[in-house]
Symmetry: D3
Subunit: 332 residues, 6 copies
């Protein structure tokens, strides 16, 4: 079965990053990227041949237009990108290096999406041709209206028997673990595919310990919320320049782990979204659980080597790495 | 008498400009400048030996710190730059060229200053050593609290017998001409030195026509508000790349005009503020009215040739141009 | 009647330009743009709300993909952009300055389009929903196969009663005036809307003198080829940094001239294509001949101020300049 | 007790670095930084809340002014930065990579400070409010006048009971080990806090071997010169891209070692100065010896990750790394 | 004996590389380098004091002129660089990172050299003062004429008793292993010094396995073709950012191995050519086999740290690394 | 007669220029160019087919090597570029704009050439194959040794009957008009071709007024010093962005004037040297006086449009402009 239309709903922002390894206090210019968890997923899926459509709201000005153009460039359908509202959220990101952590300064309040109402989104129409709805735990944190909108989207998807995936993606700048836990607890029973990590599962739901094994986290999520599929990422490493990335997937009865990638990091932001997109890709293309988790981990690995938030690589490149072939080699 | 401390109160924002002549839709990076009408005045004055102190509020994050550092670099006192509040206002500016007008996209709502309360500013302390208070018509447009704060600042300055200058600087993105006219009409009777242009005087106060002679505007402002000193700028030219800039000053009994500068424009933003700073410089240094208006016009002219909002040139450079010497010539 | 789908057929190349005013011999890097006469038209039309579709062939490699993505970004339909063949044409362009002329070094031979066969293009399918076909005199110069393909496209358009426009656009690097004249003479009787200048009309067809009046050229073209509509551009100026641009349009019984724009040039390349797109826009939107020629001339004028080949401005911006309002002025 | 004013005396130069990893022979542009051992210390201290004042001399031209502005930006007091003399020293630095060592080309002779006289510096006035004087072994190498000036500064500091710290910082481009050893031997008995490494201690004073243990070096320096506090840095690693950095501090009766940081290097220059500033910070803030050496080593570690010579990070960032928390992790 | 004139024959192209780690699809500009296997050798030799002369053909346009100027800059004799023909070959190279392999897109067909005839090269004149001819296995793949030209060059060199070196350098984009094996089998009996790796020796000649020991490959080549000297490079590593590089040289009766360099890679392209140049340098300067292989491996190692294709470092720098001294250390 | 070897003697420096129109106080990086009056002449001549050789001294370090490589790139013979001495002179140049004059900060004292001795230059050997010696009035100002060296060079040239040209090029940063006048008065009787302007002739020699006609200056120079050929440049214009450039040449009995070029300036520095090179080119190629002055003025005009100090254009481009053809037009 060919992959079907995947609808991604969430906020996209303007990401401003000082060139090279400069700190914000040293910057006289910023690289400009568009970035947002669900948009990153939409872009990766479209690049890999899974049709995707973005649902969001951006201001009706040249910055908003540039964002929409960038989605079009990336083959994402923009029919349901609403125009209007006050502003596009902005965030500043310093690239990290060695012991210096990445630093993020958010300026996202009062964005066009955060100030939108639930009534602006007609989910029946939006999901008309969709077989999949992707969400993240960021959107319900934006405003009560968005919390309600996410719930409406889930209910509409359920009615249509579309698969629902959610990346927990807890953002402590937006809400407390308690509020997040309570809100997401209401949504997760509708979710088919959950992606998170041990730390967030422990912090929001008290499931597993952040020190416990990942399998404990997976089982806990499944027991509590009944998710059909759970994927967990693990990262290790003392340095911002190097990381070890791996993942665990529970799908049906199988628990499978990906290989661990030792990565020299160019740009870490968006790698979790590349992983999430990889899981959706695998499920939609009916890869085996092992193939799926390898594909998703390889996508996350490659994203670390690409500037910006988007996972600008082809399915062929991801598959080659997932198969363990030709890593990093020049062939000419 | 040596020039005394000049206190400037207003908002400073992050200005993002695409490199070269790129449009926002083409930009993959932005030059970053800090910019704001009253801050521009403070920077120019400090560069010219008039001690200046900035009063504003910026968020307590690396972007706010970078702004404060930039003011320190420019010799502006930052004792009264408050830290806190939600965000720094942002605006995007496309450089203009020929028939293509400059384009400005504002994202300034909910800034730290706009959300500050009047009670945060202790004007008695702020003005303790000041002989001059500079304001613009932008600040009262930010919020009712800021409208009240400007009024309090004026009253405190009057009590201390400090001179008050105000650049009308109408911003239609912030309020209607009616609201602006009403608000400023309450403030201008306290103002000693008013800077504006014919268009704004006509639009806000119905004084002069935007087609009438500048002298009419000057007399009208003086008659209505009793300002001791009025300065009017005039710009002409069909192209964004070239402009003719001149000015008229009424001071005491004298009406004097500057020469007209035919300018090839590098960066127009901030030229009005350079003019305003030039008027304050002339008055504080007790130049003659003719010298003052020539100095101010020359400062505005030079600002057009300097990237960014700040008038990064010395008093000696301004004076040389004001005297008509060595315009544009290389001497070595 | 709403504007209908316009199909543009021709070659798009990679344009490499040294940064700033550097010469090729000084360049250590190049700005990269995608550029081609008919593609530029397609992009401008799409930006202005006239649906457009590009027909071309690009290599199946990352450079070809980047081109297609750029068209998508610009809202151009890419359904009929074929992938395959040996290479994308490249050309190097030095920006001109003052007395220094722009310098163009072509490296376009053996491109994927030049080596394509006529059989690869199924014009019945391509034009299925189209009401307009746009061509230029460059494409038949690429190869005999392309000469035949253009003729087939014209015949298919005629059958469908689609309007055909052609920009003569003689390129002496590709063929001689004699060959060009002979080839285009075979095509022009099928063309409804012809765009050219006096120099090319004289050189290729012996119509008008390059010194004669533009009306003579227009009448000559109409008499010889029976074009319904003819548009002629005129440029004047000794310096590459400044040009005077105007145009003449003959439509039905009317001969109308645009105002002359005195332009300070940022990037001249693509301005003729912006003009051509403006004529098509006017005709499709049923503007009057005077409105059409003013719109087209204003579009060409604005293009001179925008880096790259694409006319990245909105119909609202073009209309404002065409109406003579607010040229180059900052309003905020 | 709050940290008191620290006076730093020495030369600041213009550092020119090719962009990226280019070599000087490939460079068509240079990144420009201001840099100097004692100035780097002053900047770090000011950033961490220890008031600092720079004593130096720069030419009275725009390059000198830019340097002073940069110090002001960094919160360093510039009251005692003299203007005049012939020139600012320049040095060219190639960034290193892997087996390719950093390359430094000095052009520092005849600088304004090197040609200044001892009489220009009124140490009584300069040290009026100071509790600490920081020097390096570079300044006495600049000229006999500077050698005398350093001695005068030390004597004035002793009179005022200000603490004196000295970073030995031997520069073989300026003088021989013999001359350096002789000169510094005259100064060190006045010095309270000495910072150096095994190699320099061995080369200049014959103390310890460059292969011996660091404790031997510390004891030797203390025995010979009676320094109250001695700090020693150690570096290891075959590659310019990666280094292991650690330190040993002897303070009172305690010998303490920092953890070893394995660093991926962005810009090594100035890391020793960040260490020195860290030692002064710890002593002025009455941290324990262990806390002090960890803070100083963490500061040096972070400096390796920041472009330029200045240690542009906050005390909070240094402390977090010194405590071993969150190294290189993104929290959001 | 002082090193004598080395003639290098082959194609030089324009290499376009996106800045930083951007992918081609993200690039809005390209760094421009001139690059080609034999030209890289010529540049390295000239930098190290071995006079070299380049034989090639470039188009007679500003891009071709820039290439020739770059060779002149690098001290390479350009007397035999012919001007004419259609174009300069172009290739696009994405810098690799971690698991992301470098990506190369060739656009080299129909270049001036590929379309040149054998008759254009008068080898008697070209080799008049030469003692060495260097070739690669790329040139015979360009066209039958170039295959013939390489054979003529070899025969002329043999007549003059000049040494012939050849870097096998198989390019699968140009020909099949079978065609390459057949063609080079005709040439190698004339070659004195052969440089290759195990993979190519196995693929083209069935000599050694790509998994076998390098000594097997060396012996096989010597047995089959009678080469006096054979050098083999070995690379290892899973990541594009780090590589282990070593080499084996068989010269006379000796088999010697270099140390292995663990390299953090800045730019890998051209490192094999730096190795080849190092072998020629060692032989011409009569270094011992061990010194030669260490010099060549050190040159290759340093090249990995230098942007562009040319090995821009001095013989002194290479020798210092070859001796194992001061790797990556800053001395000042 | 084919043009013969022209020997140019003088200092070449590193020119550092902030990018775009930034001021030195705003610069975080500098564009780097090599620049010097006589070197600029040598480069232009070599580009136009007049063999040239540079005589100068540069430090034996990577910066000096880069300078020599740049001369090689430009086809200038570097046999007589000595290596050694302390440093390369540096100067900072701000690009001018409109009323803002270019600003130059010199840091050229103690350069390798300024500290060289006359004995280092063996003029008999240097001039062995030369037919022309070119000098400027800058070199004798560098040091007494250089003043003597210039005199020795002139005497050697006279002995060899080589033509001597001198560009007066008064630099007030180096010496007073009185000292310059006295020194050059001793040299000019040996000079065959003198290039200057009215201002310098008046200031140094009291010849003509800076307001008088250029013919007066020419006659005065000829009468006083007996120069065979005198060329005078004239510049006009209030703005640094636009200038009118023309010239007068007296050669034999003829007084001829060039057309006046109205130039939009990209980079003014080096335009006088392009003019001087043009005069030498015309005389060596036996152009008529009118052709010579038109060529020289056209070369100066084109130099204004090219970044850097070198006149990077071909003789064909200069001739086309000198003939008044195709100024600034794109032909393709």
């Amino acid at each position: 079965m060919a992959p079907g239309l995947t609808v991604c709903f969430g906020e996209i922002m303007l990401r401003l990053t000082p060139p090279g390894c400069l700190r914000i206090g040293q910057a006289r210019s910023y690289e400009a990227w568009f970035a947002g968890s669900e948009g990153n997923v939409a872009v990766a899926l479209a690049a890999w041949g899974v049709p995707s459509s973005m649902v969001t709201k951006v201001p009706d000005n040249p910055v908003g237009e540039a964002l929409v153009a960038e989605l079009r460039r990336s083959k994402v359908d923009v029919t349901h990108v609403h125009k209007g509202g006050p502003r596009l959220g902005v965030f500043f990101v310093e690239k990290a290096a060695s012991q210096r952590a990445p630093r993020v300064v958010y300026d996202r309040a009062h964005s066009s999406l955060a100030e939108a109402s639930a009534a602006e989104f007609d989910w029946e129409a939006i999901l008309a041709n969709a077989c999949w709805l992707h969400l993240s735990g960021i959107t319900p944190a934006l405003s009560p209206a968005m919390e309600e909108t996410v719930a409406q989207a889930c209910r509409a998807a359920k009615l249509r028997q579309a698969t629902i995936s959610m990346d927990i993606n807890y953002r402590r700048a937006l809400w407390t673990p308690e509020r997040a836990g309570r809100s997401l607890t209401g949504l997760l029973p509708m979710v088919d595919v959950t992606i998170t990590n041990r730390e967030h599962a422990s912090l929001l739901f008290g499931i597993g310990g952040s020190d416990g094994g990942p399998a404990e986290t997976v089982r806990g999520l499944q027991a509590r919320f009944g998710c059909r599929t759970v994927a967990i990422t693990t990262r290790q490493g003392e340095s911002a320049s190097q990381t070890q990335f791996g993942a665990l997937l529970h799908q049906g009865d199988e628990y499978v782990s990906s290989r661990t990638h030792c990565i020299e990091v160019i740009d870490q932001v968006g790698s979790g979204d590349a992983f999430t997109a990889g899981i959706i890709y695998g499920l939609q293309n009916e890869l085996s659980p092992q193939e799926t988790v390898e594909y998703a981990a390889a996508a996350a690995c490659l994203k670390h080597t690409i500037p910006g938030d988007f996972c600008e690589c082809s399915a062929a490149e991801v598959r080659m790495l997932a198969l363990g072939e030709g890593s990093g080699r020049l062939v000419r």
